[in-house]
């Protein structure tokens, strides 16, 4: 019973720990920082956005590269198959014929 009471008391204390919380002190130079950022003008895109954009660009390049490699491989494979077919078609003509009817 006492354990339950202790637990409830602890939870209540934790839950009440933000009672009477004060706002943090302001930064007296915040306006100057904002003004500097605005004048630089490049900070509208947050770092997160830039990183994301780079990430997507890299992913797109990688996708295109993989596709390119696949296409080149397929073309090479088809050329090989065509060459093999051409050689195979010449085999009967080039082969020596044996006449069995003496």
């Amino acid at each position: 019973m006492k354990q339950v009471q202790d637990k409830e008391q602890w939870i209540n204390e934790v839950m009440g720990s933000t009672d009477g919380i004060q706002r943090p002190a302001g930064n007296p130079f915040l306006y100057e920082k904002i003004k500097y950022k605005m004048e630089r003008g490049s900070e509208t895109v947050p770092v997160a956005g830039k990183k994301m954009a780079w990430g997507w660009a890299m992913a797109l390049v990688a996708l295109l590269a993989v596709n390119g490699v696949a296409i080149v491989n397929k073309i090479a494979h088809e050329k090989k198959a065509q060459a093999a077919a051409a050689i195979n078609s010449l085999v009967p003509e080039m082969s020596t014929q044996t006449i069995y009817s003496y």
Partner: protein, 191 residues
């Protein structure tokens, strides 16, 4: 809030910009601190909030108060930052497999101390903020605006664009969830 500040901001009055930052920065910073639980990130967000306010003041139609509008921008910026951090954490796990130095997040802070909490309550507040971090987004926003920023439910409803009843329910559910989490922490500490 200084009088006629919206008109002055729309007219590009620099003194009005400064007045707005001076009069609102503590609210913005406190809200951001409660939500993102990191001093450096909260200050970056505060700067982004005011830049957004100055750039889009023309679009402010006065449907809500300027202060509510600023809170709304703050909450949205915080949510963007929280989502980015979560993506970063997931991405860090993958990249750490390839490069050892990429696992660290710029704004990672496992033990958050709110500067406005009384000294004797710091330890408990640290536990509470860690539990708040695990709440679903809407409950987290409602709880922080209510408990940390001490806003009335009507204003929270306007900021979150939901009904007062919905805010009441979100805060209630947040408290129930927090109590469950704290109960688990208490049991684990006893083991």
């Amino acid at each position: 809030m200084p009088e006629h500040i919206v008109e002055r901001l729309k007219a590009g009055d620099e003194a009005a910009y400064r007045e707005l930052v001076d009069s609102q920065q503590q609210r913005v910073l406190n809200t951001a601190l409660g939500l993102v639980q990191n001093h450096e990130l909260a200050e970056d967000i505060a700067q982004e909030v005011f830049i957004e306010v100055f750039r889009s003041i023309e679009k402010f139609g006065g449907q809500s108060t300027l202060s509510t509008w600023i809170y709304r921008i703050t909450v949205n910026k915080c949510l963007d930052a929280i989502r980015y951090q979560r993506r970063g954490k997931r991405f860090a796990i993958i990249t750490s497999l390839f490069r050892q130095d990429t696992g660290e997040l710029k704004y990672e802070s496992p033990h958050f101390d709110h500067p406005g909490v009384a000294l004797e309550k710091k330890e408990n507040a640290r536990i509470l903020f860690a539990a708040v971090e695990e709440l679903p987004e809407n409950q987290r926003i409602a709880f922080v605006l209510s408990q940390v920023e001490d806003l009335p439910q009507k204003e929270i409803a306007e900021i979150m664009n939901i009904s007062v009843k919905a805010v009441e329910s979100l805060i209630q559910r947040a408290k129930v969830n927090l109590r469950k989490k704290l109960e688990n922490i208490y049991i684990n500490r006893r083991k």
